[in-house]
Structures are given as structure tokens and as C-alpha cells.
Symmetry: C2
């Protein structure tokens, strides 16, 4: 897919479809990650994942990425090397190639990643296509990253599985194009929290979404962590961001691909109802900073 | 050219050529600009210009841009508004559209801009196509930004023309596609300094470039500033970055478009000779930080 890679004024990437999908996201040290809690490789996975999944959430296949990296002078060279190896490894999972970027010194470690993608001839699956009567379906891990962050925030480092989920999201990239092929009406990734991200679809589509929590599976692992921390784990599923699950609406249950779970319905109206009522809690805000991701 | 603009997980941009040109550049407060010396509008112009010209330097027409902005909490809202207006205005000059981006809080004002472009069916003009026998030609302002920075660095604010040139580059965007249509063999924009950027072409093409300074016009304005600051203004032309002039090689002088000036020749060999000798001075480093732009 790469006509011309890094080293020139710009890269050239094939766009056989005649359109290109493009998304840019930031990761700022202390805002989106903490170097105390996440290794260079963790940040590399996260930086790639959050952008690649934005492309997948349009129903597209990621093709290329560009990385802008601001490095403090005291950043160990090994940090940048480990970051790059993990970043490349995550891109390899979907067949995307690093084609360019920029590096600068600066006081705060900052990453701006741009991902490009190929719609393979299909229309993009936007947030605005949901219709009354649609079913709402989900695929991918939900609440794990928030549970992991809750563990880390209280000074623990285990259970390893939820901590790892916070450090390294594992989005279901391939399911984006699968959903598009199955005729998904609307789609986005869960980066701000399920209720909040369904709210984005509801607003963009001018519909109401009714979520049924009985349909959300709360794994025994999250139940254990919830008991240990005295938190209802359902809250992590409803408000936790950064797992980058995919949520989409389909015209009927028979359109929903294998591996997706129906979790609700689209109706006329507005907003999101959780088990029939508005949900009072705010969305995802990893370090309580007032930052929200789109 | 825009199929889907901001507000979804990703944008969708037309790429009728079947390929897309993509470039990312950083601007970090205190590294690439100083807010004392450059207004929000100045930074907006500069952020757009340095990326749009990277696309033009491939011989492509810029189509779309994405912006990632890290804002300190104390950044006035008016700064972001003025930045955006000026950024949009510069994009308008070339018909490029802001299609997406990301905003985060963070301690250091940082901009990462990605520009996309359309090759209109032509091959990209890379740095590696120069051939022995080519002529080297230049278009656009050279040395003005460095002169303006020299003025500002000594505490002056005039002459206004060179200070403005430092604050707001005015790259000859349209000349990139013009050079490509005229059959340019190699091209890049002058962002690190003429000698250094010609060195990039010489290295990538495995040739030697011989620059003749008698062919470089030193405007009377730069001569005046040079006298006032006791600096040979030719040095600004040879080592000053950030004007974003375009330099290209062509198979013969008759291929060189109107508005371009022949400034040297390509020979077998390596490196860059200035009037027959190696040039001892380093390239551009705006604030003496050891940062170089590609």
C-alpha cells in the first residue's frame, strides 16, 4: 500500500478506493498515560491502537500511520526504541505501515498519531446513520481498562489481567470492516465510555438509544476486582473508556455478525436510556482531567 | 474533496488519483516559535504553511489537513480562535480543508499538523531523482526568515518586512505542481537551510550539487539588515530555514518554469559545493536547540 515511505518531504500511500480515511489523536504524558504506570511498549501499543481503531470504526482497513513525537531531553533512547517496536508491532496486526513523521525536543513527552485507511469501496459507517428500529450491538472488551486504572490508582499492580488491559488496549480492529460488510448503519469505538459514546450516535443520528444492562456480560474477573475495591463493576462497563470496543447499530438482529452481542435498541427520541432511565454518571476521564476523547 | 469532515471517528477525503500524499510536522512552543515573538495568527499561518509546502514539494496539491493541539490550561480562548482563523486562511490559499483533529490539555502548547495531497496523476517528485547534468533551480523567498529572527534575537522589532517574514512564511505552494508538470527530477522545500536541503537531495540521489552564489539575488532589504547587524546576508540565504522556498532539479535549463532561478548544477560525485568548495557552516537551528526539520 506504500508508494513512498519515510525520508522525503511527504509519504505517498495507495488509495485504490479513490477515498482515504484519516484520523489524528494525541497522547500526552500525565494526561493520557503515566510513565510510572505504563512502559514505553505499553504507550506504543496504546498510541497505535487508539488511532487504528478510529479507522476501523468507519468500517475501513488501516493502511498507513504517521507519528509526531515530542521528546524531553532526558528521555532515554531505549524508551523511544521500545515505543517504536511496540508501535510497529501493533500496526503489523492490521497490516498498516509507518510511512512518516516528525521528531522534536520539547518539555513534555507527546505523541500525535495520524492513521489512514481504505474503505474498500464501501460507504463509511458514520455516527449519524442509526435508525429507529435498529438493534445496538457491541464487540470487544469493555470496562477492563477502567478496572485496571482503578487498581493502579489505589496503588496495586494486580490482578495482572486488568492492569494489562489498562496498559494495552486490544481493540477488535477486524470487526469494523466486518460490521460494514454486514450493513451496519452507525458505528463508533468506545473511547469515552459506553453511555457517552452511544450518546454521540444518538445525537448524530437524532434518535434515542435504549441500553439493557442485563445483556452486558460482567466477567467474573471484573466482579472480583469490583468486590475487592468496593465498586459496582457495571459502572466500569458503562462509563469506562479506553478499551476501544466497537459499538454499532444494525437494521435487524439477523444482520449482527457473529462475535457481536446485542445490547439494546434504537427508538425515536433523543439521548440514551439505561434500563429505561437516564444514566446519571459522567463519561470517561482517565486522570480526572476534564479531557474527553473523540 | 471532503467526503466526511470533522465530528466522527475519522474523516474521509477524496483521493481520485488512487494515491494520497501525507506529511506530519510538529510545532512546539519555545522550540519552533515563541509566543512573545509570534501571535496566535502567526503560529496558525506557520503551522499550516510548513505542512502544506511539504505536500507541494512532492509536486502535489494539498487537499486536507488534520490538527492535533495541546493547550495549556492558561491558554486564552482567543489564542485558539485566532490560531484557527489564520490556519484556515492559509489552508484556503491552496484549497485545503480542515477535516479533523484532536485537542488535549497539556503543559506545553504543541501543534502536530498532518496534510494530505493529490498528485493529480503525476509521479511524486522525490529527493532521489536528481541526475548528473541537471540544473538546480529555486523559487520563493530565501534568507528572510533568518534575517527576521536575527533582528528579533537582538531585541529589535523592525524592519517590519523581515520580522513579518520570520513570523509568517509565504511558501510558493503553486510552484510545486508547476515544477512537477515541467518534469522536475527532484524537489524539496528549504526548511533546514539551502545548503543542508540541497545536501538531502545530493545524498538521496547519490550526486554532487554545485551551487553558485553569484546566481542568488541578495535583496537590498537583506543587505541593509546585514549591515545593521554586521552579518553577511548571504549566510542567511545559504543556511536560513523556515522560508520554505522550493528547490528542484530539471533535466535542462529549458525545462525550468518561469519564476524559478537557476542557481547551480548537478554533477557526479557527492555532497554540496558552494562556489566550488565545501561550505563550513551548519544548517538551520532556529533557537539553537539542535532540532532539524525534515
Amino acid at each position: 500500500m506504500v508508494v513512498l515511505g519515510p525520508g522525503d518531504d511527504a509519504a505517498v500511500v495507495r488509495a485504490a478506493d479513490g477515498r482515504v480515511v484519516a484520523s489524528t489523536d494525541l497522547l500526552v504524558d500525565g494526561v493520557h498515560f503515566k510513565r510510572d504506570w505504563s512502559s514505553a511498549a505499553d504507550v506504543g501499543v496504546k498510541a497505535a491502537a487508539q488511532n487504528l481503531v478510529d479507522v476501523a470504526a468507519m468500517g475501513a482497513v488501516p493502511t498507513a500511520v504517521l507519528v509526531a513525537l515530542v521528546c524531553p531531553l532526558d528521555l532515554p533512547v531505549t524508551w523511544a526504541e521500545e515505543f517504536t517496536a511496540a508501535f510497529d508491532g501493533e500496526c503489523d496486526l492490521v497490516g498498516a505501515v509507518l510511512v512518516g513523521g516528525d521528531v522534536s525536543r520539547g518539555p513534555t513527552l507527546t505523541l500525535a498519531v495520524t492513521a489512514l485507511g481504505d474503505l474498500q469501496g464501501r460507504p463509511p459507517v458514520t455516527r449519524s446513520g442509526a435508525e429507529p428500529g435498529d438493534v445496538v450491538a457491541l464487540t470487544g472488551r469493555l470496562g477492563w481498562s477502567a478496572a485496571g486504572l482503578a487498581v493502579l490508582s489505589r496503588g496495586f499492580r494486580s490482578p495482572a489481567q486488568v492492569v494489562a488491559a489498562h496498559r494495552r488496549p486490544a481493540p477488535p480492529y477486524a470487526e469494523g470492516p466486518v460490521a460494514a460488510r454486514c450493513g451496519a448503519h452507525a458505528m463508533c469505538d468506545v473511547s469515552d465510555g459506553l453511555v457517552q459514546d452511544l450518546g454521540h450516535i444518538a445525537r448524530a443520528s437524532a434518535v434515542q438509544i435504549r441500553l439493557e444492562t442485563a445483556r452486558l456480560e460482567v466477567s467474573s474477573r471484573l466482579q472480583d476486582v469490583g468486590r475487592a475495591l468496593n465498586v459496582d463493576p457495571l459502572r466500569w462497563l458503562l462509563t469506562g473508556g479506553e478499551d476501544h470496543a466497537l459499538v454499532a447499530t444494525f437494521g435487524s438482529a439477523s444482520d449482527v455478525p457473529a462475535g457481536w452481542t446485542v445490547i439494546g435498541r434504537v427508538r425515536e427520541g433523543e439521548g440514551v436510556l439505561v434500563d429505561g432511565a437516564p444514566y446519571p454518571h459522567a463519561g470517561w476521564d482517565a486522570f480526572g482531567t476534564g479531557t474527553s476523547r473523540t
